[in-house]
Amino acid sequence: MAKITMVEAINLAHAWEMAEDPSVVVLGEDVGVNGGVFRATAGLQQRFGKSRVQDMPLAEGLIAGTAIGMAAQGLRPIAEIQFMGFIYPALDQIASHMARLRNRTRGRLSCPLVLRMPHGGGIHAPEHHSESLETLLCHHPGLRVVCPCTPTRAYGLLLASIRDPDPVIFLEPVRLYRYARQEVVDDGQALPIGNCHMLREGSDLTLVTWGAMTVDSLKAAEQVATDGISCEVIDVSTLSPIDFETILTSVVKTGRLLIVHEAPRTVGVGAEIAATVAEQALYDLHAPIRRVTGYDTVMPLYRLEHEYIPGVARILDGIRATVGD
């Protein structure tokens, strides 16, 4: 079996579900003959036709809003926003309609759609191309927000997202698109949304993270292992709703929690995790909860992006400080 990248796995999941389910359609900017700027939809228009893979006029609000109308009419749209930094014109549609349609019609209408977009920085991209804006989406009840960190997870979670009866925001960590290859069984098997994934078991500290930060977190966990510190690393994977059971079970076991994310610190998803753990497991903690995050700054242009994105050194210090407390 060939080993493939995350972006290839995303492409495979599209193709599987489009072949299985004629109601699945793809829309976005440059998703057709160009196959998406990251090649996530490469070959789909050639294989499934222009009717099912539609290039849209250049308007993110239009793409999100159109997907809502299509989904309510029984299609299963997979809509692409080219970069997460361009999501702002779409937020009106996402917040005012996508997240609310089922609720406001008491279930008469719904939005079974996927809104995919690259997430995060680290690839020397221009301004507005490197943002981590998951908080904007997680703050809206009625949306699922998923963020895979490996090719197999991307494949299985995208299939689950397409099949989900409600809208799913699918965040694709941009520096993992081609970071590693993995064997992916192209069998149409979905992975459940709403579960954390255990990346590494340990006993001294629970490190909770997601997206591209899983890579640096695992590197840091490996390094401290040589000092005899045993980190349990959890990929949150679904950022809304969060699988707190897995996180709490781990924290009860280790007594220590470090949260690592790329997005700015203030009102980041890490704050929600810290608050919930404080509410439900404070007496199991041996040390204060810590966060290692992006700073509360504008995402800088690329020459400073590695000053902004938490690296292994910051995570190592976070681990050592938490274990030392």
Partner: protein, 355 residues
Amino acid sequence: MARFEIPYRGCLANDGTLCGELPAFGADTELLRDLYRTMVRARTFDTKAVNLQRTGKLGTYPSCLGHEATHVGAGAAMRTEDVMFTVYREVGSKLWRGVDMLDILLYWGGDERGTIYQRNTQDFPFCIPIGSQMPHAAGAALSFQIRGEPRCALVFIGDGGTSQGAFYEALNLAGTKSLPLVCVIVNNRWAISVPVETQTASQTLAQKAIAAGIPGQQVDGNDVLIVREVVGEALERARQGGGPSVIEALTYRLSDHTTSDDATRYRRAEEVAAAQRLEPIGRMRRFLEARGLWSEAQEEQLRRESAAQVDAAVKQYLATPRQSSDTMFDYLFAQLPVGLRAQREDARRYAAPTS
């Protein structure tokens, strides 16, 4: 029943002869040469910038190849006190308006100092979120109107940008308030991989102005003379209180969308080759030469000077040390909130050396 017309204007044919009346500014032969010189400088810069990206010394860069007449012509029609709102490709407009090549390199080289513009204090920096510059220009125009200043806002937008809500919203406002705003739609036929026919069923982009009660016209965007003339007329009309205009400049994106793009995936080489034959710089040179305003020696000198200017900017760019991590914080607010000081300290601790 309402009837509308979208005029099309050009004056410089591809062979360098006049196919329309020479604008009055054509009497200023030094201006004619300056228009040409700036187009050549923009292209020399552009070629070098693409090469820098290819050798890993610049980030993603959107080439302006083929757009020089539109960019330079529109920039040259402005007065110094007018304010310009660009998209991200208008090298020629920026150079005409006193932005340094170094600034443009710094910006695409991932350094915010490329937006400081030492010799241009009012123009906005490049604007990447498509169409979002339109309301800013309308706002600037509204401020000129409120204060009774004889100034204008000039805003560029691409063919793809005309699909954004912000485009219509801003034009609508400009129409209702008769704002001193000139919108130049740079129709280069391609929004990354999407051709203009897929973008809109509208026969012209200029006619999108009609719905906002604004006159719209098309010009040959590879003819620097007509762009300079028509944009100049629109600015003067706006300055006199005559209200906004939309000018659609028909040109062609001869390059990939950016250095991250590969246009061979979605458009035919014959189409690009045909557009190449209509490119703007050769045409202006033929015009100047035919009128005895330009010689081989002047051409050689210009090429030499342009290359030297670009080389000097590149040298300075490559020697510019990275900013410190403090700068992520220091420009967020006029005064850094106390709560952020600890984060700034933290960033310092992990910062890599800046040189």
